[in-house]
């Protein structure tokens, strides 16, 4: 608390911090893979942030894939978190039909150890960047 008050008094350092942590509820989408990111931040006014998100298109529709091969772990791994959770399509922009096939393919790939199961704690290396969420206080 005292820290924030200090920063409010010192105008030179305040704006930078504001931009970083946002007013309410920081952006909780760090896990977004490949195309998931909301693109360039630019000078976004707070509160209206989500309307500037780029329209996402289904990667499989663009490439006209009619069959998602469970053996292509390189493709499938773009649609799971590093712990192995299947990403929801609201983050990835995959259309519902392809998401359905994707789910099947990912589950098959898990069976043959090409992808991790969501619960397993085995062999994950890159640690998640959680520092940003920690610093947002409840004010």
């Amino acid at each position: 608390m005292t820290e924030e008050q200090k920063q409010a008094q010192a105008p030179s350092s305040a704006p930078r911090r504001e931009g970083g942590s946002g007013g309410h509820g920081g952006p909780r989408r760090e896990g977004g893979p490949g195309g998931g990111g909301p693109g360039g931040p630019g000078g976004r006014p707070r509160g209206k942030r989500q309307y500037f998100r780029k329209k996402k298109v289904c990667k499989f529709c663009v490439e006209k894939m009619d069959f998602i091969d469970y053996k292509r772990a390189d493709i499938l791994s773009q649609f799971v978190q590093e712990r192995g959770k299947i990403l929801p399509r609201r983050l990835t922009g995959v259309c519902s039909r392809h998401q359905r096939w994707l789910g099947v393919a990912i589950k098959r790939a898990r069976n043959i150890a090409l992808l991790p199961f969501a619960g397993s704690a085995a062999g994950t290396q890159a640690p998640r960047a959680v520092a940003a969420t920690v610093e947002a206080p409840k004010a």
Binding site: K56, V57, C58, C61, Y70, I112, A113, P116, A122, G123
Partner: protein
């Protein structure tokens, strides 16, 4: 019964000599010949990292085969064989022909649609988002 296409993947222990793998493969071939199946494809993917530990191993040698057969019992037989093999730590069989059939149908449909498009004004179902390909 029409012919079915199956994928068969198995993983052997990382330090398995080549002859052992050959032995497993010839065993598969043998039962295929016995029950009336045909091996369409055999691929050695080599040593890969496993996504999780299997039989205390972190990596394994992947072998991939495609098998075409009329008889479902062949797959049951192959699975039984792979299960008792000591060097094989994991296997997976997947029936593929239904997926491929569906794929063929979809490709056909799309071709029809693109063939029809010039005649009609901008088609109502915007199923093929070509213009958005530039995005990301």
């Amino acid at each position: 019964m029409e012919e079915r296409l199956y994928d068969l993947i198995f993983i052997v222990r990382p330090a398995t000599p080549e002859e052992e793998i050959k032995k497993v493969l010839s065993g598969i071939e043998h039962s295929c010949a016995e029950k009336g199946g045909k091996i369409e494809k055999t691929e050695h993917w080599g040593t890969r990292k496993l996504a999780y530990r299997v039989a205390k191993h972190r990596e394994g040698i992947y072998v991939y085969q495609q098998i075409r057969t009329n008889h479902g019992e062949l797959i049951a037989e192959l699975e039984r064989r792979l299960r008792v093999q000591d060097v094989v730590i994991k296997y997976l069989t997947v029936r593929l022909d239904e997926d491929l059939k569906r794929q063929k149908k979809l490709v056909q449909k799309r071709e029809q649609r693109t063939a029809r498009r010039p005649r009609r004004a901008p088609a109502a179902p915007p199923a093929a988002p070509e213009q958005t390909a530039a995005a990301s």
